[in-house]
């Protein structure tokens, strides 16, 4: 006699193998699960490339600015007088760049007394901003525009050179100082916006067709009756089916990554482009939350499918899940990672988006990812427990 656990694993593998075979013979499932994620990123990249999306996205709330260096033609006073800005003292510890990177301030304005003078002889005013953060980018643009306006207002003095030509002398010049190389910063910013949305949406789309097929679809075709009439353990049937759905979800993510890679290479050759350094660590740290996303959506959608009485109903019930996935992706974009509370990692789906965003920005939050992992285990176990209750009830066989 064999051990029950071993027999259960054997049954699970039998169900899993059969489900995968059947799923790959259904071109619609393959198209939705793998084809759509594959073209999703290239499509968006094309829209962005040819549509000319700006990285300037605006800010919400007050823009926090620090002003340091010797006072130059009243700039400090001018900035303090602007309602849109909150001018704070430079940080007492750490560098200005660290303060911008941490989100303590959006922009650091460095007045040029101690800095090299420009060729025209006027002092240079540097606007330091984090070009991988949309809020800091927008704040940098805002402060620069204000300073240029102030400069225009001040430019009244004229001088005559040795040849008798009248020249205009500006009292200062404004220099934007991004903290990262401009191309790399723009690429990172755009990816930190796109990837959470696309990872969440493709993870939600990937298992959709297979989940609908293996739960409600089996009810419709009355094959579930035969399956539940066999001596196979119901838990083995559930795990085998869930494994097949999750596999399609993973393949969806792999397709998405493949499509993203293609789009990245293609857009670099098509345009002057925005660069993004894709290290192995970046790929891994994005792949991990992507796998968590695939597991989460596979579990939710399979549960929905088992509950629904037809595959059409299952797909209809899954629409809100897709909407939530998109919403969580966009919400992740709006969250400022620099001053993020760990509490955010407890918000369902948004937490996965934040884990992706942190990875793209090259700063994955270890504690946050641990919290997300814990939550995904909870989601999957809860879905499995509910699915187990459904499949144990005779009403699971009812279909429309």
């Amino acid at each position: 006699m064999k051990l029950p656990a071993r027999a259960g694993i054997r049954e699970t593998l039998i169900v899993f193998r059969k489900e995968i075979t059947e799923l790959f013979r259904d071109y619609r499932t393959v198209l939705v699960s793998i084809g759509v994620p594959l073209v999703l990123f290239p499509l968006l990249a094309a829209i962005l490339t040819y549509g000319g999306l700006s990285s300037g996205t605006g800010t919400s709330g007050e823009t926090v600015v620090s002003v340091s260096g010797p006072e130059t033609v009243g700039i400090s006073g001018f900035l303090r007088s602007r309602d849109e800005l909150t001018v704070v003292e430079p940080p007492s510890s750490g560098t200005l760049r660290e303060a911008v990177a941490d989100g303590a301030i959006d922009v650091a304005v460095v007045l040029g007394g101690a800095r090299a003078r420009t060729e025209a002889g006027s002092p240079e005013v540097a606007v330091v901003f984090d070009n991988t953060n949309h809020r800091s980018v927008a704040a940098g643009e805002l402060v620069t525009e204000m300073l240029k306006g102030y400069l225009t207002h001040l430019t009244t003095a004229t001088e005559t050179d040795s040849e008798g030509t009248t020249v205009v002398s500006a009292p200062f010049s404004v220099q934007l100082e991004p903290m990262h190389p401009p191309a790399a910063g723009g690429g990172t910013l755009i990816l930190s916006f796109l990837l959470p949305v696309i990872v969440l949406v493709s993870a939600a789309i990937g298992p959709l067709a297979s989940a609908a097929d293996l739960g409600a679809g089996e009810k419709e075709r009355r094959t579930l009756e035969s399956l539940l009439g066999s001596p196979a353990r119901r838990s083995a049937i559930l795990v085998g089916k869930f494994g097949a759905v999750a596999t399609m979800g993973f393949l969806g993510i792999v397709s998405f990554v493949g499509g993203a890679g293609f789009a990245y290479i293609a857009t670099r050759t098509l345009t002057e482009g925005l660069e993004f350094t894709m290290t192995a660590w970046t790929v891994l740290s994005v792949a991990y939350p992507a796998v968590l996303a695939a597991l989460t959506f596979s579990a939710i959608e399979f549960l929905i499918s088992l509950y629904a009485r037809s595959s059409k109903a299952a797909q209809t019930f899954s629409v809100p899940v897709l909407i939530l996935a998109s919403a969580a992706g966009y919400a992740a974009f709006a969250v400022d990672m620099r001053s993020l509370s760990l509490w955010y990692y407890n918000v369902p789906l948004l937490n996965i988006g934040l884990a992706v965003k942190g990875a793209v920005l090259g700063n994955p939050h270890a504690a946050g990812i641990l919290i997300v992992s814990g939550w995904v285990v909870v989601y999957v176990l809860a879905a499995f427990t509910a699915a187990r209750r459904i499949i144990e009830r005779e009403s699971v066989l009812r279909s429309v």
């Binding site: 064999k2 059969k18 013979r25």
Partner: protein, 260 residues
């Protein structure tokens, strides 16, 4: 048939001696609903084919589904080979071959061979025994000409032959057939009938649900008439069929009319 991984077949001899015992079986689909099956009791002995005759909605399929563990009784018990269908449902399922008519419940994107192999594996047969059994069943039910084509391309008859093969791949001692020949061609109907007769001769217990009186007369040792969820009559081959084709229909004109 020797199988791997399941202990239920060890007591096959005992199962064959016990048959199927249905006691005061009732089913209501909700608390206040009319009972679809109401206090039904009967036995089906080894080597016996018991027919369930009734109009659509009489309660035949509900009885069959409770015997095959797909529905839980509201009250009463069913024992198959000595195993209770509620407390020992896996043992019951391992010893049953169930075939539903009309919709065959086959996987359309698999071939007949793959469908049969899948259920062989779920019933614990190892690969070599599964292959052997597939060949036997292909011979028995005439599957060779289409066995490797996808089921989605089959006619109704091909599907029902395949479904029968899948249902009995583990050579179960108990057969539950629910209207197995509905809308089938003569050739496939004969294949099903031949298998039922063969099963009886091998000492298996068969419950055959149908509203076709001629089919039941040909195949059954006893026919129980179900109406409104109750057994309202019982006819025996030796005593009531009289060897005269059509006599069962004459006995139950309202039920058998128009079916043949």
């Amino acid at each position: 048939m020797h199988t791997e991984g399941y202990e239920y077949h060890a007591d096959r001899g005992e199962q064959l001696n016990r048959g199927i015992e249905v006691r005061r079986l009732s089913k209501a689909f909700s608390a206040n609903a009319v009972r679809a099956v109401d206090e039904v009791s009967f036995d089906a002995a080894p080597g016996e084919v018991v027919g369930l005759l009734g109009a659509n909605g009489a309660g035949k399929t509900t009885i069959v589904k409770m015997v095959s563990t797909l529905l839980r009784p509201t009250s009463g018990t069913v024992c198959v080979g000595g195993h209770d269908t509620v407390s020992d449902s896996r043992a019951v399922r391992a010893s049953l071959g169930v075939l539903f008519g009309g919709d065959t419940g086959l996987y359309g994107r698999l071939s007949a061979r793959e469908n049969i192999r899948y259920f062989a594996a779920l019933n614990g047969l190892d690969r070599s025994k599964s292959e052997l059994r597939v060949r036997e069943l292909a011979d028995l039910f005439g599957l060779h000409s289409f066995i490797d084509r996808l089921v989605a391309t089959y006619s109704s008859g091909m599907k029902q032959r395949t479904a029968l093969a899948r249902s009995v791949v583990h050579d179960p001692p108990f057969l539950i057939l629910d209207e197995p020949t509905t809308a089938l061609d003569i050739g496939t109907t004969q294949v099903v009938h031949a298998y039922v007769s063969r099963s009886r001769n091998e000492g298996k217990t068969v419950i055959l649900s149908s509203h076709d009186t001629i089919e039941l007369e040909q195949l059954c040792d006893r026919v129980l008439t179900v109406d409104d969820g109750k057994i309202v009559d019982e006819a025996h081959r030796d005593r009531d069929f009289g060897g005269d084709a059509g006599s069962l229909r004459a006995r139950f004109p309202a039920i058998g009319s128009g079916t043949q």
